[in-house]
Structure formats: C-alpha cells, structure tokens
C-alpha cells in the first residue's frame, strides 16, 4: 500500500503553507526521519521528516507552491517495492481536513503561546487513523506538549520549552522536567570551558549586570532624543588658566570641573530640565546634584556632587578628585552614587568629538561632552580659529520636551562661552 505524505500542521494555528523546497526527488529512497521538504508558514520555515521508509513515487506539489492546505497530499510514498503504476493517486484535498480553529481564551495568554493537548483536535477526525498518526509523527518535533503548570513555570523562569525533553506521556513536559532543566542548564554553564583559543569567557559581575539592567531599562522605557550644540571654550580656557596660575600648586581646576559648575548654573536657569519621570508624577529637583560618569575597572559608576549650586570650583574640583579616587578603589558608599538629578559624561579626553549618552534613570537628562579642539569657525564672514567643544544633551521626552532641552543647551553654551556669568 502506498502512503500519501500530507501537508503537516507545523503550528497549532497553521491552516496552509508554502512548499519552499523539495529535499528529495521522485525515485529517491527515504528512511524514517529523513528530511524530505522545507515548508514555509506565516511564522517560519521548517523541515518535514519522512515517517515511513519507502521510495518517493510521485511529488504532487511543485516547489514554491503556495496555499497548500494542511493535510493535503504533497507526495506519494511507495512502500514494499510497489510501483507507481500500481497505485491510483488521489491528490484531491480531503473534504474536511481543515484544522478546527483553536478557541483561545483571552484571559489566559500563556495558553496562546504554546500548543496544548487539545490540539489533537486539529487533526480532522475524518482523517484515517493511519494518516492521523503520520501527521502527528511528522510534526512531532515541532509541537510541544506541556502541562499547564510546566508552561507557567517555564514562563516564570524564562525557560524556552522547546529546549526541553518531556518525561511525561508522549513526551509531555512536566513540572519535574522544568526543575531538572534548571539544574542541567546550570551545570552546562559550569561545564563550558572558560577560555579557548578563540575567545575567553568572563562571568558577568553583579555590577556588569546592574549596568546592563539599568541601561536596558533606560533605553526601553525612556524615549530618548538628542540635541547638540558647539561651544567656543576660549574664554573658559582663559579663565581656567588664570585661576590655575594663582594656585601655587595647591589646586588644579579642570575643564570638567567648570563644565559641572556650568551644568548646575544652567539647571538653575532652566529648572524644567532638572526633573525625573515617576509614572504618576514628574519630580522637579530644587538642588542641582550632578552625577558624573567615571570609568572604573569592569564598568562605570556615577558618583554625585551634591548641591553644586552652593559650591565653588575649588570645592567641586576637590570633591570630584576624592569621588573619582574612591570609585576607582571601589570604596563609594551607596549615598555617593545613588540619586542625583542630572548627569554628565565626558569622553573628551579620548578625543571623541561628540556622542550621545544613555540617560541615567530615573533622571531626565544626560549631557555628553566631546573634546575641546581647534576648529575653523566663521564669524562675521571671517574664518578664524577657535577652541570648540561639542556637547550633546540626551533627554527623556516624557519629562523634557525639545524646547526645554534646546533652552538648556543654549543657556549652557552662554555660560561656557562667558564663564564670568557663572559668578552671578
């Protein structure tokens, strides 16, 4: 007896598919488990295995043929040495092979994700038992049987059920499989050699994980937009050199210290930028607590200089040095880096011209500082040389609108280009 190879239901919702590619041709001998075709559904392309062994007698659908109904014969398999001429090919679509639509309960989303036992119903009852089994076997590798509890546990623990082998009846995934899987997975990770010739595997530190988590949260939740402005820092540099020339080596104010002060002074002028999103409310800060990104071994951290508005450059400079040192030694206390109303990230020392920083949640803005470099600038129809610095403000659009961000940057530019205004 020949066997019709039927279009399998590769997912519970699949009603039809496209025969993407034949992997066998007429006359080929196939064994159970051999790949015979690739089927494309609305979701994915999957391979179909032969269930029985025999010879492909006739291919009934051409490569690329679309809208092939589930359970429609796609090829005829000759078994026990019979010849094609001996059989009658019936390539009509069986009358009612359409899968029943799955009734999906809205309140139970997890049911939607995974096929459950009830999908046996997908296989038309009118299909003969043999065919039913064939289809079941053919698609075995693509269907998941799991108990409701196993499904829920997998979801809670973020385990991909398709990676599991079920120990229940017909390979159904049970609670115990989820529990054992966790252990397997763990032990597998432990077994991965930490290094090989091509790569080295370093375990993520909890700091690394925290950074990852916070940045992902920021990029996922805060709608970022970016504004850039060029600042002429000639005056700033002049002021700095004046200040430092009087130091008698007791202090050395950096450009960064002056930027911190300018950022704070600007926040006082544009208080709407000194804000954070708290879902039901927006918090506007009265203090200007500036978080400054510091690169440390294995990550970065943002120690805070608090109440910058009350501090002079010297105090800011000293505090920054202390905090940076503590950060590098891993000695920051939580209150040194948790909080802050506004952040600054400066990559100028690496020659970075400009960049866009990721907002440090729950703050509303972060200012990214580029390198101070000599550029040709045009003023009053004249090209001249000036030391310029490009800064980019990343704003959380939920709290800071474009106009507020723009106002902040223009005021910031004013302070940088006229540092004496900061004395006001």
């Amino acid at each position: 007896m020949s066997i019709n190879i039927l279009m399998p239901a590769l997912s519970p919702t699949m009603e039809e598919g496209t025969l993407a590619k034949w992997l066998v041709k007429e006359g080929d001998k196939v064994n159970s488990g051999d790949l015979i075709a690739e089927i494309e559904t609305d979701k994915a392309t999957m391979e179909v295995e032969a269930v029985d062994e025999g010879v492909i007698g006739k291919i009934l659908v051409t490569e690329g043929q679309e809208s092939i109904q589930v359970n429609q014969p796609i090829a005829v398999l000759l078994i026990n040495g019979e010849k094609l001429s001996e059989i009658v090919i019936d390539d009509n679509i069986p009358e009612e092979p359409k899968p029943k639509k799955n009734v999906v309960n809205d309140t139970n989303n997890e049911e939607n994700d995974l096929p459950s036992l009830s999908e046996d119903e997908l296989i038309s009852e009118k299909t003969s038992f043999v065919q039913k089994n064939e289809v079941l076997n053919t698609i075995k590798s693509n269907r998941l049987f799991a108990t409701p509890l196993a499904k829920r546990l997998a979801k809670q623990r973020d385990i991909d059920l398709s990676l599991l082998t079920g120990s229940g009846p017909n390979g159904r995934i049970l609670k115990i499989d989820i529990e054992n899987f966790k252990e397997e997975k763990k032990s597998q990770v432990d077994n991965i050699p930490l290094s090989n010739n091509n790569s080295e595997l370093i375990k993520n530190s909890s700091m690394r994980k925290t950074i990852a988590e916070r940045l992902v949260k920021s990029k996922n939740e805060a709608p970022h937009f970016y504004l850039s402005i060029d600042c002429n820092i000639e005056q700033l540099l002049k002021a700095r050199s004046t200040i430092n020339s009087k130091s008698n080596d007791e202090y050395k104010i950096s450009v960064n210290d002056m930027i911190i002060k300018a950022a704070s002074a600007t926040l006082l002028k544009v208080p709407k930028a000194n804000a954070s999103w708290e879902n039901e409310n927006t918090r506007y800060f009265k203090n200007t607590d500036i978080s400054v990104a510091v690169a440390i071994d294995g990550g970065l951290i943002t120690p805070i200089i608090k109440n910058v508005e009350f501090k002079g450059l010297l105090e800011i400079s000293n505090e920054m040095k202390t905090l940076a040192q503590k950060a590098k030694e891993g000695k920051l206390k939580p209150e040194d880096y948790i909080g802050g109303s506004f952040s600054i990230s400066n990559l100028g020392m690496y020659g970075i011209k400009e960049f866009s920083a990721v907002i440090n949640p729950p703050q509303g803005c972060i200012l990214a500082i580029g390198v101070g470099e000599q550029r040709a600038i045009v003023t009053n129809n004249q090209i001249s040389i000036a030391t310029m610095m490009t800064v980019t403000l990343s704003c959380d659009h939920r709290v800071v609108d474009g106009a507020v961000g723009a106002e902040y940057l223009s005021k910031f530019k004013e302070f940088i280009e006229n540092p004496s205004l900061m004395l006001l």
Partner: protein, 469 residues
C-alpha cells in the same frame, strides 16, 4: 519440578499482586501467582470491601433513624447484626471469585500455597511453594513480592478474637457489644467507630496524638471530631493506652491523658494501631534485599537491591493503600516488560479515603505540611452548607479545602470532609496528575446541582472569587 521458567512469579494475590499478574499477562509475559489464603488479599476479603458493606448498613441505619425529616415514619427498627455481617462476607466472596475468573481469563497460573524465594542462578530465581499437597518448586526470571501486611499488636495486649478484636473480628461481629474502646484513630479505627456508633454501641476512641485522623488536615480532623462527639462518641486525644485487663467478659483499659491516668471499662476493645509488613519466612534473607523499619526497600521502579526481585504494595511501606499497591504493580510490571516513558510513583499524589460518616478524602499536602515545606500558599475553603445539592440531600455538614502554591498556581493539596467526598476526590487527583494550575480548575465547568460544585467554589475561594460563600 518441570523446566518451565516464568517471566514473572508474583507472590501474593492482593490488589498489588493480582493486578501485577494480569498486567504482566497483558504484556505477553508468562506469569504465575502464589497465594496462601485468598485471592484479592486483605483489601477485598478483610479490608476495604467488606468494611464498605458494613458501613453501607450503618449508613442505612442512620437514614432510618432520621427518616422523619423526609416525611416518613418508621418504627421498630431492629438491627440483625448477623445478617449485616453475612451480607458483608457475601460481598467479599463474590469479588474474590471474580478475581479468580480474571486471573484465569488472563492465563495466569495460580498456585495455592506459601512461597519462599531461593537462589538458583544469577538470572533465574527459585520459588518454593508449600501447600497442603507438599512442596513444589517453580522458576522465574523476575519475582514480585506483594505479600502485604498484617495488623500490629501492642507489647502488652494482643488481639484474641474474643474480647480484644483485630480488624477481622471487628468486621464479623456475631453480636453487638454494649460498649467498645477503639485504640487508634486512623482510617480503620474511625470507620469502626462510625459503624458501631451508628448501630447503637457506646464507642470510645483513644488516640496518642493531638488530632484524630492524624494524617489529615487539622481543619478536616476537627470537623470529624466535632461530628463524632455530637453523636456521643467519646474521643480521647493526647491519650495513650498503658495496660489492658480482661476479666468477666469485659475489658479494663488503663489510659493516660496528659499524664493523668484513668480506667475505662468496655465490653470489647479494637486494636487499630497500624500494620507490620509481611517479610518473614519468604526467603528475603538469602538475597541482598534491604529492609528498613520493617519494610522492603526498593528503587523508584520497585526493584530491590537484588536484580530481578521487585516488591510492591504494603510490604514496601506507606501509604498502606490498595490503590497505591495496584499502581506500583503496573509500574513495576511495565518496567520488567521494558516499556519506555514510565513515570515513577509520586507519593504526594496518592489520594486517601476514610469512609466513616462524614466521609473524608484528601490528596497532597496538608496546610501544616505545606507551611513546614515553606511553600507560599493560598488556601480556599468551601463548606457544604453553601452547596444546594448537599442541602437537598440533607447532608450538608463538611468542608472542601484546597491549597495552592501562591507563586506557581500548583494545586498542592485538597482536603474534604462531607457527603460522598470519597467519590469526589478523583477530580483533584486528575488535576494534580495533569498538573493543572488554579486557572484550569477555575475555568472548568462543574455541573449544577452537584456536590462537586463545592470543589469549584473552594478553588475560587482560594483566589477570593467564591460565588456562594
């Protein structure tokens, strides 16, 4: 002795042994079964079944006593205890004969006699069968020990079949005693207490632990206790039996409650203080078979440390339930036959039933046990007084309690007391086996009006969604 080598010889014809033999035959194995006394074992001959026949009689007595409520008047109700006993024995023998037919139909060779296993070769085991016709030796590749258990005596008192009864004498009374002391408040003790109380006997129950039915959830145990006390059963918990004196056809039991001694006189005394496994004289000592606390030790597929020798049922330890033995029988035989995809028995999913009035049925962990395991739980309770069918039946005392894991929605346990709960518990057994969560149970349609609606309501109550409570 002939040369036939059986694939399996089963020792013991109870609900473990005969089920193992039939399943083995179904799987195409050649199988023999050795039974010393009666096919069907204790369960069918002297346990589950005949006591259910007795409890049916006492239930009818209870109904007759309360028939006025339903608009009938009946007078002059008399109990003929001999007839009650006779019916119970008839039920047992009818079923035992049925087992004989089933074994015959399944081509199981049955030997009547007492079996002792012995070594032969590494692969083949010898079974010596002693019967009144002499000793007979048979060979098998695999042996299943399903010898069950017998009731335990206390060091200072043994059942004598006259004044001190074991379960056998207790279920074949020829006369009703005036008074009865029952030692032990497990399922067996409570069923006899309920039976004899309904038939008008003055009953006292002695339990060393704090609660009667100590394996059940405390809420359930309390409801049964209150019901029994209302019916005039004297319940003495935290009480131990110190000594027993028998004189002039009466029994004096010296008991100690919280350190205070007292004396109770009764006509008869029933010992229901547990069981001991039948591991003696069957040749275990010749093999590498471990015995722990009196029970044979096996792996999860019921194989002992000796390859080819298996043990199932009561002889392997608790819970001492017929359905546990039958389940182990099937698992064990399927393992022998090399079937794949077998799941070891999950002891947390074995339902337990007690057929006293009111009935008790449970599966899984009690609230206390769940808390000890540090499971974050949600508890639902539904009393039968809120169930229409129970009220219509005139039997609305009881409670259905469900316990869920609050984190995962797993049904951790279900505990019931009330009308026909022994018939209801299977719903929760299926739920547990299929690993449903509260979601599936809440969205299952339970027919109205049925007692089973109480199961639904209990689940809903766990999630604060009960409608009728």
């Amino acid at each position: 002795m002939n040369n036939k080598i059986y694939d399996v010889i089963v020792i013991g014809g109870g609900p473990g042994g005969y089920v193992a033999a039939i399943r083995a035959s179904q799987l195409g194995l050649s199988v023999a079964l050795v039974e010393d006394k009666h096919l069907g074992g204790i369960c069918l001959n002297w346990g589950c079944i005949p006591t259910k026949a007795l409890l049916r009689a006492s239930e009818i007595k209870h109904m007759l006593d309360n028939v006025n409520e339903f608009g009938f008047s009946v007078s002059n109700i008399k109990v003929d205890i001999k007839k009650v006993t006779e019916r119970s024995r008839k039920v047992a023998s009818q079923l035992s004969a049925g087992i004989s037919h089933l074994l015959k139909k399944n081509k199981v060779k049955v030997f009547n006699g007492f079996a002792e296993i012995d070594k032969n070769t590494d692969q083949i085991k010898k079974v010596k069968i002693k019967s009144k016709d002499g000793i007979n030796t048979e060979l098998a590749k695999n042996i299943i020990i399903a010898t069950g258990a017998k009731s335990r005596n206390l060091p200072f008192v043994k059942s004598d079949g006259i004044n001190v009864w074991d379960y056998k004498t207790a279920m074949t009374p020829q006369d009703l005693p005036n008074s009865l002391v029952i030692i032990g408040s497990g399922a067996i003790g409570m069923e006899f207490a309920s039976f004899y109380n309904d038939l008008g006997v003055k009953v006292t129950v002695i339990e060393t632990l704090t609660n009667i039915l100590p394996n059940e959830d405390e809420d359930i145990s309390k409801i049964v206790q209150n019901n029994f006390i209302k019916r005039g059963i004297d319940i003495k918990t935290n009480t131990s039996l110190k000594s027993v004196k028998i004189d002039n056809n009466s029994v004096s039991s010296e008991i100690s409650t919280d350190g205070i001694n007292s004396l109770i006189k009764s006509e008869k005394l029933i010992l229901a203080v547990g069981i001991i496994a039948n591991t003696q004289n069957i040749g275990l000592e010749k093999f590498n078979i471990k015995i722990d606390k009196g029970h044979i030790v096996t792996n999860e597929y019921l194989e002992t440390d000796e390859k080819g020798i298996y043990a199932i049922g009561d002889v392997t330890g608790g819970p001492w339930l017929a359905h546990k033995a039958s389940h182990e029988a099937i698992l064990c035989v399927e393992k022998i036959a090399g079937l794949s995809n077998l799941t070891p028995l999950d002891k947390s999913s074995i339902p337990g039933c007690t057929y006293c009035r009111p009935q008790v049925a449970s599966i899984g962990l009690t609230e206390k046990a769940a808390k000890i395991k540090n499971i974050n739980i949600k508890v639902g309770k539904f009393p039968f007084i809120g169930n229409g069918k129970a009220i219509a039946l005139g039997d609305s005392e009881g409670l259905i309690k469900t316990i869920f894991n609050n984190d995962t929605g797993e049904l951790v346990g279900a505990h019931m007391v009330g009308p026909e709960v022994t018939e209801l518990i299977q719903g929760f057994s299926i739920a547990k086996k299929l690993e449903t969560t509260e979601h599936e149970l809440m969205h299952t349609i339970f027919p109205h009006p049925t007692l089973s609606e109480g199961m639904h309501e209990s689940v809903l109550d766990a999630y604060n969604q009960a409608i009728h409570y």
